[in-house]
């Protein structure tokens, strides 16, 4: 039987009386990139702190590559972590920061030098930036140092706590690609905490959606986006039209999900669905978002930017074949 990279068994924790984590279980295959996705306060950062060893669970076990590390101190787990605020040592150079973990392990200085330079090459920090202290580096350069510092110790598990939340959108796209590339190159099992569904879907092999201290659904980004099992997951991963109804022949009382980009306005060759009145149109550059009233139901339609119907106009709205997903009746949360 293959050993999981990371395995969480019934992890429970609470700060005061209300449970922060209530029996969280998760299996992450070795070498996979998993994102813990959820709204603020759902317990995702607490979970990553438990995995890193900064908090001790009240119940449950953490297994890393088959070894129980629940009670091991952070420094004995061989995990690397990129903190949300990066937590770079401000009095050390970029090189010093990356060398820290190797020096703490007492490796020979020649090996430290060689591994630090190789890691800084891998994360793309230029030679003239390597002797600078974090205060003299840009946000993206600091991010590279933090990533290098976490990876140079060759961890069994890399943890990223909202690593891109402080970057502007352009830099975020760059760093997203870099993190994924380095993760693939090193093959390290990775766990990222994020509240950004796009970030999770773009980077992860697997996403675990959390809400109120529990994991509500685990799957690939595509599965969770297109075929979620609950309205919560459907709405959290993106804009969603959810209407009461069921597929003919199925159990009544369920809901139907159709994403705005799966609807078409005045489309040709698409089966007719209904006529509605445009309430609002918003321009986003790459696309437009149109709100259409179909009877007493409001539907969001994402369309091409060259078609922007004015409010008040009547339009024909239809769904592309195979894009309507039935949410299970007990999936609402």
């Amino acid at each position: 039987m293959p050993v999981d990279g990371l395995r969480l068994e019934e992890i429970s924790f609470h700060f005061d009386t209300a449970p922060t984590l209530a029996g969280v279980s998760l299996k992450v295959p070795a070498g996979a990139f998993v994102s813990i996705l959820g709204p603020s306060g759902c317990g995702k950062t607490t979970l990553v702190k438990i995995v890193a060893g900064y908090l001790k669970p009240l119940a449950g076990r953490v297994l890393l590559h088959g070894t129980d590390i629940t009670n091991a101190p952070p420094g004995k787990r061989n995990t690397g972590m990129v903190f949300q605020n990066l937590a770079l040592f401000p009095h050390m150079s970029a090189r010093g920061n990356v060398a820290f973990g190797l020096e703490a392990r007492g490796l020979p200085s020649s090996e430290i030098r060689q591994r630090v330079e190789a890691m800084l090459d891998q994360v793309g920090l230029k030679p003239d930036e390597r002797n600078r202290q974090p205060g003299n580096l840009s946000g993206g350069q600091q991010q590279r140092v933090a990533l290098g510092r976490a990876l140079v110790i060759q961890p069994s598990l890399l943890m990223l706590d909202e690593p891109l939340s402080n970057l502007d959108s352009h830099l975020r796209d760059q760093m997203r690609g870099l993190i994924r590339q380095v993760q693939r190159d090193t093959g390290v099992t990775t766990m990222m905490v994020t509240h950004d569904p796009e970030e999770a879907m773009a980077m992860s092999d697997l996403i675990a959606v959390m809400n109120q201290g529990t994991i509500v659904e685990v799957g690939t980004g595509r599965d969770l986006y297109q075929r979620p099992r609950s309205a919560f997951v459907a709405r959290f991963l993106g804009l969603a039209n959810i209407v009461d109804g069921s597929v003919i022949g199925h159990r009544p009382g369920s809901s139907l999900l159709v994403r705005p980009e799966c609807l078409v306005i005045n489309g040709e060759g698409v089966p007719f669905a209904g006529i509605g009145k445009v309430i609002n149109s918003e321009f986003f550059g790459a696309d437009v978002l149109v709100t259409v009233a179909l009877g007493n139901i409001q539907m969001l339609v994402r369309g091409r930017p060259n078609i922007m119907p004015q409010p008040g106009t009547e339009v024909r709205v239809s769904a592309m074949p195979g894009t309507i997903h039935e949410l299970p009746a007990d999936g609402e949360s």
Binding site: P74, G75, T79, N85, F89, F100, E103, A104
Partner: protein, 256 residues
Amino acid sequence: MTLLRASIAILLPALLLVVGGTAAGAILTVRMSLHAPGAGAGLFEPGSVSLSSWASMGDAHHRGIVLTTILTGLGVSLLSTAIGALLAMLAAPFAGLRFMGVMVLILAPRLSGVLASLFGLQRLLPRGWIGSLIAETWLLVPYSTLILVIALRGIDPHLVPAARGLGASRWQVLRWIIWPLSLPAVALTLQLGWVWGFGAFLGPLFLGGPDQSTLAVEIHHEAFDLGRWPRAAAEGVVLMVLTASAMAAGSWRPRP
């Protein structure tokens, strides 16, 4: 520029007071040291110019006083910084009301009043240099601790977990993270310590032995017990030079 001008305008009276007051005090002290001592009840001979007060500054008695003053300054500096660092490390991790409680305990020597503290210490400690050193350290430790607590609490709370997670031991965290990041505050408390210690007065007065007088005590003795103001002023100038030299030495940093 408007903000800069406003800042200067606000700070100017305070700057004038500090610079003017210090300069005026220093000039008057130097001037006084150059007068001849007064006969009978007079403090000095008006209009006289004399180096007689300075002639005694190099004698064995004064050399001993200067040595005691320097040793007291260095001793108070090192002791108060070391104790302050330990107390700051104990207090810094607390939060909220607990932190307030710990700080009240640390600041207790200042809250109870200097004289009350010294009378208490007089009963507990032996008279002599060690007693006066402990008394002065006792008075200074709350300030040193405050400076160091502020420095420790200013360190990003994620740095220690980050270092521990990378495999650093507690000792390595202290040596590689806490120590270098609190070094400016340690330098400040050392400097405060020796400036405070050079001017040590109450501790040596209450607990010092007859042969371990400091310059501040000797100045008081010359001026108020013996009425020799020019000589007290000459000793005051020596104390000023000593303190200024120590501050200059403490502010020196090697070129990067």
